[in-house]
Amino acid sequence: MIELRNLTIKAQDFETESLSLSVRPGEVHGLIGPSGSGKTLILETIAGLHKPHKGNILIDGKDITLLQPEKRAFAYVPQDASLFPHLSVEENIGYGVKVSNKGINSEMKDYIRHLCERLNIQHLLERSPAKLSGGERQRVTLARALAIRPRLILLDEPMSALDPAIKEETYYLFKELHRELKFTAFLVTHDFEEAFFLSDVFSILIDGKIRQTGKRKEVLYHPKDIRVARFLGVTNLFEGYVEDVSQDYIVLDWRDAGEKLVVRRTFRDRWVTEDTDLIWGVRPEDVHIIKGDRKVSGENLFDVNLLSIYSGKNIHNLVSRLSQDGAVIKISVRDIILQKLGIHTGSELQIHINPETIILLPPEG
């Protein structure tokens, strides 16, 4: 297991708070943070390329904070692949084995051949890196990193520069390879898609501080605070008052709307007590428009007026208002749904918020 224990990193105009996290063997741990949040610096520190100000890095309990990068066996994969331009693809892949004086025995040759086959790069071995496409470069970089059988692969936004189609293909390849080889990886990225596709566990880094660590559902539906929630796309955030707490449900008074809201209670909501204020939120994609002109009655149903529509490639972002001066709710709908609904700016809609998708957060401050 690789552990960061109370690690503080200082650079010219940047300083992290005390960072602690652990990466279990065979796990892909994704550190997600906005640009400029110090992700690359953290990665370089783990790689041994930057000295931490305080704290420790441990492998299976053994302190390696001051160990030279070449002795850590942490293969670093930077953003832009960084294949050595003066070496062929084959020489790039064999570089780590060659410089570490381990010698390429027949077992190693078989392993590298297998890697090349799995990554579909066996036909590129004689080529120069300059003659590879973006996807090919990324696959060769992965082979080069895996060839040394590293304890940990450090990935810095590995696929952010790829075209969408190539990116998805490379995600699948990475996942398949991970399933087979069960390597341990630490990924830093600002791209949610990349993080959620590739990682098993996520840490959220904002302003040099790890705000939360957890698995997919935990991070997505139980963000620790408003900053994490906002960062993870919870753009509908409102004030609420807890009226009732039962075994399975929580009833909120939606302050801005003067309406009641029912929330599914999970063990992570144990901190919620009756007669207290809190913040609740819901992702735009978790707000559903009720089809048809006939109004439906039930819990978490609200009437809204559609103010504007902002269209993306497949997704339309709708801005709606609850009543004349009420709360503004953002809704995301897919292209095909919008066409079926036949709605336009000014339409009166009925929306439903699923109790399972409501996020409860402690009030700010």
Binding site: A47, L49, F84, Y95, V99
Partner: protein, 257 residues
């Protein structure tokens, strides 16, 4: 249009300046004497001495300049700024002054000790190499550093993470990636060394068949009113210099597009 004509006019006038100066040599050119002088023992000695001294000085400059440039390019250490400034000395100080400084050094206790216990430099061939080395080492280091600065650090970071020690990274990644820059620095240092006069004459003097490099031969022949001999030596220096610079262009090396 006026601006275009003005700047092209400036370019042409620079060409004319050098063309007229070189053309003036033809007035004193005698083909018969030219060949005879060219193949004389003394001229061949000067050519050989210049080539050998400039080559040794260049090898020494690159040998020390390459690691020094790497240190200045990659590491932060106390006195780095001072060293970086000192590299400019051969450019700021005229070669004669640099030669005078070397000569004065050999009159100090340390200089005398060096001469008595290690190697004689003053009025010796080794003095030529030393003078050329002193005038080119700073420039070679500066040129190599510029080339090293252009290599993205991530290549070295990746190499280390793959198991290469700093020395292996230097040998297997840094040097191959900056090969063109290093060769260009070596060629330009060599061109400067072979044309070096001021520092050489101060340290090694002007002794025929001993310390008579091509530039010193030009000075000695002109002093004795041997115009044909002077022109022969100038042409030799010109051919060597232009060939070297053409080689830089031919190899597509940085600094000379």
């Amino acid at each position: 249009m006026k601006f275009r004509a003005l700047v092209i006019g400036c370019a042409v006038s620079i060409f004319l300046l050098y063309a007229i100066l070189l053309f003036s040599l033809l007035g004193f050119f005698e083909a018969g004497n030219f060949v005879e002088t060219l193949i004389s023992r003394r001229v061949l000695f000067s050519i050989r001495l210049s080539l050998i001294a400039a080559t040794i000085a260049t090898i020494l400059s690159v040998a020390i300049g390459l690691p020094a440039a790497y240190a200045l390019s990659r590491y932060n250490f106390r006195g780095k700024q001072l060293i970086d400034t000192v590299l400019e000395i051969p450019m700021v100080l005229s070669p004669v002054s640099l030669g005078a400084v070397i000569l004065i050094f050999f009159n100090t206790n340390l200089g005398e000790w060096v001469q008595n216990n290690m190697m004689m430099f003053v009025f010796e061939v080794s003095g030529i190499v030393l003078a050329q080395f002193v005038t080119t080492a700073g420039i070679a280091t500066r040129l190599i550093k510029t080339s090293l600065d252009e290599i993205p650090l991530r290549y070295e970071a990746v190499a280390r993470s793959l198991g290469a020690t700093p020395l292996k990274v230097f040998l297997t990644v840094t040097i191959p990636l900056s090969k063109k820059g290093i060769i260009a620095a070596a060629i330009l240092s060599w061109a400067k060394a072979i044309g070096e006069f001021g520092a050489t004459i101060m340290v090694a003097g002007s002794m025929a068949m001993k310390t008579e490099t091509i530039p010193i031969a030009i000075y000695m022949r002109l002093s004795s009113a041997d115009i044909t001999g002077t022109i022969v030596m100038i042409i030799i220096l010109l051919v060597i210099g232009m060939s070297v610079l053409s080689a830089v262009r031919f190899l597509g090396l940085p600094g000379h597009d």
